[in-house]
């Protein structure tokens, strides 16, 4: 029964290296459970029923993808630690007369055992914890809770398939390693130290340049759109640069320290520096991975946490006033339709009265709105070129009387106007509308109701204040026609010129009253005639949608941060463990030559302190440079609260540093135990 033999060999192999295998196994279980939780939530019917549940599902769907990707990379990474240690064993089998094919069978069994065990364990914990996770999610999004434990067959099969594929790949890479094996070389594989890379200097410079480029990108980012497009490039650059710099830096540090005789030849430094130099590249790469994972935790947690805790801020930015009512008329004649307006105001007053609240800070104005394609030149006053690289713009023409009623009296001559362009300066002093040239009398630095844009897309908008209502309408029509003629507008597709009446107000009422008022408004405005279509935007009505979105993101951020943190801990553990096992024999010798336990302790501490906190420091530095980008990205979610961002980041860094120190202490103790207790072998 050969199969039985391979199975037993695989079993004993796992058992014998349990100290390295167990953490790997736990990682597999953890990853499986985490993946199942996200996947089952993404397809959970109780979530899709929630308000904004569809958004939530798609966020979690994205999370499933990230988690899967992470699981693949991370399991591969941890498995490589195992393989490195197992190679020796396989070499021995090989020398004892076991062919590579037979070793492959052992490996196959091993992988199969791990797969089945971790899938079982992972699904068990996943199903157990998925309800807790759901409660946590529902709580974050302030949804309503349903107390039923559900098992998602779909998520189970997805998990089984994904991890089946991962373990298959791991098996393949293991087989590949065996194929490359030269048993004799393997048996004494640990004896030659690593040589410094030939172009270490170049690596370092390359890393520094890439990092500088990434940092430069991050701090010069000017708007949210740019932040989106550049974010992933910057992330990639930072990852590569971190690896290069840590490897080159570790090599350079070792050399410098070894050259400094007065430092190197001290009891506390001698051993630690030399063993660092012995594995300088591996050391650098390990530290770089720790640094990158730490950065991922910090950025994810800071971003999603800030978003969630800033939800009121976002709501306020997005909806500066509690209620905005927009009545959109077809064409521009309606601008002078005072009858409709008074009808609207009447309906508004009735609704307010019925809901029992009062409008504060009520403002209203007329405007004419039309879209156009244009090059950036629309915002610079340069003559517009042929429509090649055009993007969407929107033009708002506002009658002087309406503007003056809100912002104070102002006079304009026939060919003069006031201009506002989202707070940016306008470089020219004329602008051409419908063939007429206007001189810009003044560039405004704020504009009433400009913030109440009625869609999320930040389309650049130019606000122009010109003469009377009639003049506004006529000018808009003329300019629009001109733009149609130039091929920059198309009445079939872009909706043409509209006249709007916009009214905004606060109530200061409770959210229930606000909800009631929304209903009343809907009713009384809906019953009006068809000369216009009215829309109501209420901050309160959007709150739950925001909470679902931001709560979902925060939940995902939390989950991923937990995964990343576990990965960090595990990598630190493996690093310490594998180095401890390697160093054990050396410390044995050194004890014979006259090293005391105190010397060992000192040496261990020296080594830890020299390198161990570097990744954390580098991660914090990365986070600092990521701030401008995060800040811009958060603006996409209408969050502009910089102090909140800083506070969240501070808390995240503090919490993570605490975790890091704890892990550092316990693993350095483990390392010390391994190297000082000679009997403590695997």
């Amino acid at each position: 029964m050969k199969t039985g033999l391979y199975f037993r060999l695989a079993q004993t192999g796992i058992r014998r290296s349990r100290r390295t295998y167990l953490p790997y196994f736990f990682t597999c279980v953890g990853m499986t459970a985490m993946f199942y939780i996200i996947a089952s939530l993404a397809s959970s019917p109780s979530l899709t029923d929630m308000a904004g549940g569809r958004t939530l599902s798609s966020i979690l769907g994205f999370g499933t993808f990230v988690m899967a990707l992470f699981a693949v990379i991370f399991l591969f990474y941890t498995n490589s630690f195992l393989i490195r240690r197992r190679k020796k064993e396989f070499g021995l089998y090989n020398i004892l007369g076991m062919s590579k094919k037979h070793i492959a069978f052992v490996l196959l069994w091993e992988t199969l055992i791990t797969y089945v065990a971790s899938l079982t364990g992972g699904l068990f914990f996943g199903i157990l914890l998925s309800k807790a996770a759901e409660l946590c999610l529902v709580n974050l999004t302030r949804g309503t809770v349903r107390y039923d434990l559900s098992v998602s067959p779909f998520a189970i099969s997805m998990t089984a398939v994904l991890f089946g594929a991962v373990f298959f790949l791991i098996l393949l890479s293991g087989l590949w390693q065996i194929r490359l094996n030269n048993p004799v070389a393997l048996l004494r594989s640990e004896n030659a130290g690593e040589k410094p890379p030939r172009a270490n200097y170049l690596l370092g410079v390359g890393g520094a340049v890439l990092l500088a480029a990434a940092y430069w990108m991050a701090i010069t980012v000017a708007d949210p759109i740019q932040a989106i497009t550049e974010f992933f490039v910057a992330v990639m650059l930072v990852i590569v640069a971190t690896f290069l710099l840590f490897i080159a830096g570790s090599v350079m540090l070792c050399r410098l320290l070894q050259k400094n005789k007065a430092y190197y030849y001290r009891p506390a430094h001698f051993v630690s520096v030399s063993s660092m130099a012995f594995r300088m590249k591996r050391n650098g790469a390990g530290l770089a991975s720790i640094c990158i994972l730490a950065t991922m935790v910090l950025v994810t947690l800071t971003g999603s946490g800030c978003l969630y805790f800033g939800v009121e801020d976002s709501l306020r930015t997005r909806y500066p006033t509690e209620f905005v009512i927009t009545a959109q008329f077809d064409g521009t004649d309606a601008l002078e339709d005072t009858e409709s307006i008074s009808m609207l105001e009447g309906a508004l007053d009735r609704a307010l009265a019925r809901a029992g609240c009062e409008a504060k800070n009520r403002i209203a104005l007329h405007r004419v709105v039309y879209p156009t394609l244009s090059a950036e030149s629309l915002l610079t006053g340069q003559p517009e070129k042929a429509p090649t690289e055009d993007r969407f713009f929107r033009l708002h023409l506002i009658p002087l009387a309406d503007y003056a009623a809100l912002a104070g009296s102002e006079t304009l001559s026939e060919h003069e106007l006031l201009l506002y362009s989202d707070g940016r300066p306008y470089p020219a002093d004329t602008i051409v509308l419908g063939g007429e040239t206007f001189s810009v009398k003044r560039v405004l630095d704020s504009f009433p109701l400009a913030e109440e844009a009625d869609d999320r897309n930040p389309i650049p908008t130019l606000y122009l204040v010109v003469g009377g209502r009639g003049r506004c309408g006529a000018l808009a029509q003329a300019d629009y026609l001109e733009r149609v003629r130039q091929g920059r507008a198309d009445p079939e597709r872009d909706g043409g010129v509209n006249g709007d009446w916009v009214c905004a107000f606060d109530t200061g009422a409770s959210s229930q009253t606000q909800a009631a008022l929304t209903e009343e408004l809907r009713e009384s405005l809906g019953s009006l005639d068809d000369a216009f279509s009215a829309s109501i935007i209420s901050r309160a009505a959007n709150r739950s949608e925001f909470l679902t979105l931001y709560g979902g993101l925060f939940f995902l951020g939390l989950l991923l941060s937990i995964a990343f943190s576990c990965a960090t801990v595990l990598i630190i553990y493996y690093k310490q463990l594998s180095e401890g096992l390697e160093d054990q024999a050396r410390f044995d010798i050194m004890k014979k030559v006259g090293m005391t336990a105190r010397d060992i302790r000192k040496s261990v501490n020296s080594q830890m302190l020299t390198v161990f906190f570097l990744p954390l420091a580098a991660a914090v530095l990365h986070l600092c440079f990521a701030f401008p980008m995060l800040h811009q990205l958060l603006q996409l979610f209408d969050l502009k609260n910089l102090p909140l961002l800083l506070t969240t980041a501070g808390i995240c860094v503090g919490g993570f540093a605490l975790l890091y120190v704890l892990v550092y202490r316990s693993t350095s103790n483990a390392y010390f135990r391994i190297v000082s207790g000679a009997k403590d072998r695997i």
């Binding site: 640990e190 004896n191 030659a192 130290g193 005789k261 007065a262 030849y265 001290r266 009891p267 001698f270 051993v271 030399s274 063993s275 130099a277 012995f278 050396r586 010798i589 050194m590 004890k591 014979k592 030559v593 006259g594 090293m595 005391t596 010397d599």
Partner: protein, 254 residues
């Protein structure tokens, strides 16, 4: 005064499960004078390594005492033991025990570094020791880059760089080919000439024939000893191997 005095050493190993006891040493007594070169011989399992470990204070005897320069080893406190060993004893092991993370130079300097010596002092001693041992061209190499004989030479350098009162060697030629063995034995002879006391445990008659005195251990006791006197290496070799034949034949004490 004797440099090393060993009195009625007994060592009993207890197996972990309590039951069986192995008496590795029954009652070993001998002494070594300053500047001597002593070899200890005996069959495998006769307790040579055990004896050496006790002399090196790496292990404790069940009974009996060891005095080095008049000082009882059991009176040295546990905490001071490592430093005591580092300053007074030099070791050469069968399997070299060099650290693969260090160059030969750093390997040799290790005990001095652990002893907290100044770098200038280290360099001075390194110079003189390595010139004597012909190690100067090899100092910047790593252990995996040099031969077994060269490794053992480095181990010897590491052992004598602290100017130990006594150099203890356990099967120093065990892992060497005959050419390197000759080299090493010549080296031992040479450092003994310059005043270093050496105590060496060995299987090899050839190695023992280089010493001034040979102790034979059997059944946990010093069974017999031979002095070289005026004999040449070859003559001494003959006498040792004759003795071994008698020993193997279970003869009585001569």
């Amino acid at each position: 005064m004797q440099l090393l005095e060993v009195r009625q050493l007994q060592k009993i190993y207890r197996t972990r499960l309590g039951g069986q006891q192995v008496e590795a040493l029954h009652s070993v007594s001998f002494s070594v004078e300053k500047g001597e070169y002593v070899a200890i011989m005996g069959e495998s399992g006769s307790g040579k390594t055990t004896l050496l470990n006790i002399l090196a204070a790496l292990d404790k005897p069940t009974a009996g005492s060891v005095r080095l320069e008049g000082r009882d080893l059991s009176s040295v406190k546990e905490s001071a033991m490592t430093a005591f060993r580092r300053d007074n004893l030099g070791f050469v092991f069968q399997e070299f025990n060099l650290l693969d993370t260090f160059t030969l130079e750093d390997n040799i300097l290790l005990p001095l570094v652990l002893g907290g010596r100044s770098h200038a002092d280290m360099q001075r001693r390194l110079e003189s020791v390595c010139r004597e041992l012909g190690l100067l061209p090899l100092l910047k190499k790593y252990p995996y880059e040099v031969s077994g004989g060269q490794k053992q030479r480095a181990a010897v350098a590491r052992a004598i760089i602290t100017n130990p009162a006594i150099l203890l060697a356990d099967e120093p030629t065990g892992a060497l080919d005959s050419h390197s063995t000759d080299d090493l034995l010549r080296l031992f002879g040479q450092i003994n000439e310059s005043g270093q006391t050496i105590l060496m445990v060995t299987h090899s008659v050839k190695a023992a024939s280089h010493a001034r005195r040979v102790l034979f251990i059997r059944d946990g006791e010093v069974f017999h000893q031979l002095y070289r006197g005026e004999a040449t290496d070859v003559q001494f070799y003959q006498r040792i191997s004759d003795t071994l034949t008698v020993l193997a034949g279970g003869g009585t004490q001569a």
